[in-house]
């Protein structure tokens, strides 16, 4: 039996890939919203513009254009990884999100503002994307293998009289 074919047929319903696409879509959506909000701001300005609903005490992410672009790029990688079912893209997104989180932490530690105008809420989203993309990229080949095994078992069972 052609193992490649088995794997590909099983990959059609990969839940890891769908979840990676959802994470990516969240990143892209928030990033684009941030870009719209921060348009016209200083590209690397330390203050940034905040996504918020003040009346309801909901204070979300803060962006300058660079921070919004970086998040959009990370989310885009995850989205491509999810849609094409290629874990490598997910790993790229995970590394990118980790880099964003580390950059913010290191610059804060040094007592500076930060290049991306990020707040603790941005840090939380970066961690969500970093951990989520890494875990899903690790699990995708395993799920693919399980789906392949199941297809193979089903084919054998179907062939028996």
């Amino acid at each position: 039996m052609n193992a490649g074919l088995v794997t590909r047929s099983g990959a059609g319903s990969l839940r890891t890939a769908r979840a990676l696409a959802v994470l990516g879509a969240v990143g892209v959506t928030v990033g684009v919203a941030g870009l719209v909000l921060a348009i016209g701001d200083d590209v690397t300005g330390g203050t940034g513009s905040q996504l918020k609903a003040q009346r309801f005490d909901v204070n979300l992410f803060t962006f300058n254009p660079l921070g919004a672009l970086a998040l959009t790029a990370v989310g885009g990688c995850a989205l491509v990884g999810g849609l094409t079912r290629r874990a490598a893209w997910g790993w790229v997104a995970a590394v990118g999100a980790t880099a964003l989180a580390l950059q913010v932490l290191v610059q804060w530690r040094a007592g500076e503002g930060n290049l991306l105008a990020a707040s603790g809420t941005n840090l939380s989203l970066d961690l969500l994307l970093a951990i989520g993309c890494a875990v899903l990229s690790w699990a995708m080949p395993l799920e693919e293998q399980l789906a392949g095994d199941a297809t193979e078992t089903g084919a054998v069972a179907g062939a028996s009289p």
């Binding site: 804060w108 530690r109 809420t121 989203l125 951990i131 875990v135």
Partner: protein, 185 residues
């Protein structure tokens, strides 16, 4: 006859597992988890390094001093005064990273039960810090603890969360880390 009765009896879930929720239950648990995750995510917004408000008597510093000014539990007030405020920047980093991480894990639905327990403990410390300071409403902190315990009890990451995807994948994997993950999710 006994065998017939045994065969027709409803199958009980194995000991130590949470029964699978119905669609409505699962969605409700997931919304609860997302709500609590969003709470921590937005809470991380105003913990601002490097001094976390110490130099201006604002932000996290201001709220932490409530534990000393309006003590809820005297030993806890002593701990805050003698240890936390003395090493406040370290404490501030701990709070910031914990809240950001809790928001991330609960929103993702990853190691949800462990994250929910950690959230309940963190909520308890907030309760002990600010509950008796006017105009705080202590019941909001009792509710925070209760919601985290509900997320823990319902293993809410298994619906619309990464735990629901990962658990079947690691179900038969041997080793301590897989065992640890199954317990935490």
């Amino acid at each position: 006859m006994a065998a017939q009765v045994q065969a027709s009896a409803p199958t009980a879930p194995p000991t130590g597992t949470v029964p699978a929720p119905t669609r409505v239950e699962g969605a409700t648990f997931a919304l609860l988890r997302l709500f609590v995750g969003a709470l921590w995510l937005t809470g991380a917004n105003w913990k601002i390094p490097p001094d976390f408000g110490r130099d201006t008597d604002g932000g996290l510093w201001h709220f932490t001093t409530f534990a000393v000014d309006n003590p809820v539990l005297p030993p806890y007030s002593w701990l805050v005064e003698e240890v936390v405020l003395e090493h406040f920047v370290v404490f501030g980093w701990f709070v910031l990273v914990s809240e950001a991480l809790l928001g991330a894990l609960l929103l993702a639905g990853l190691v949800t039960r462990a994250a929910a327990l950690a959230g309940a403990v963190l909520s308890l410390t907030i309760l002990l810090t600010v509950a008796l300071t006017p105009p705080e409403w202590p019941w909001s902190y009792y509710l925070m603890i209760a919601v985290h315990l509900a997320v823990f009890a319902t293993a809410a990451g298994r619906t619309w969360g990464l735990d629901g995807i990962l658990r079947p994948i690691v179900a038969d994997r041997p080793g301590a880390s897989a065992r640890w993950y199954r317990r935490c999710s």
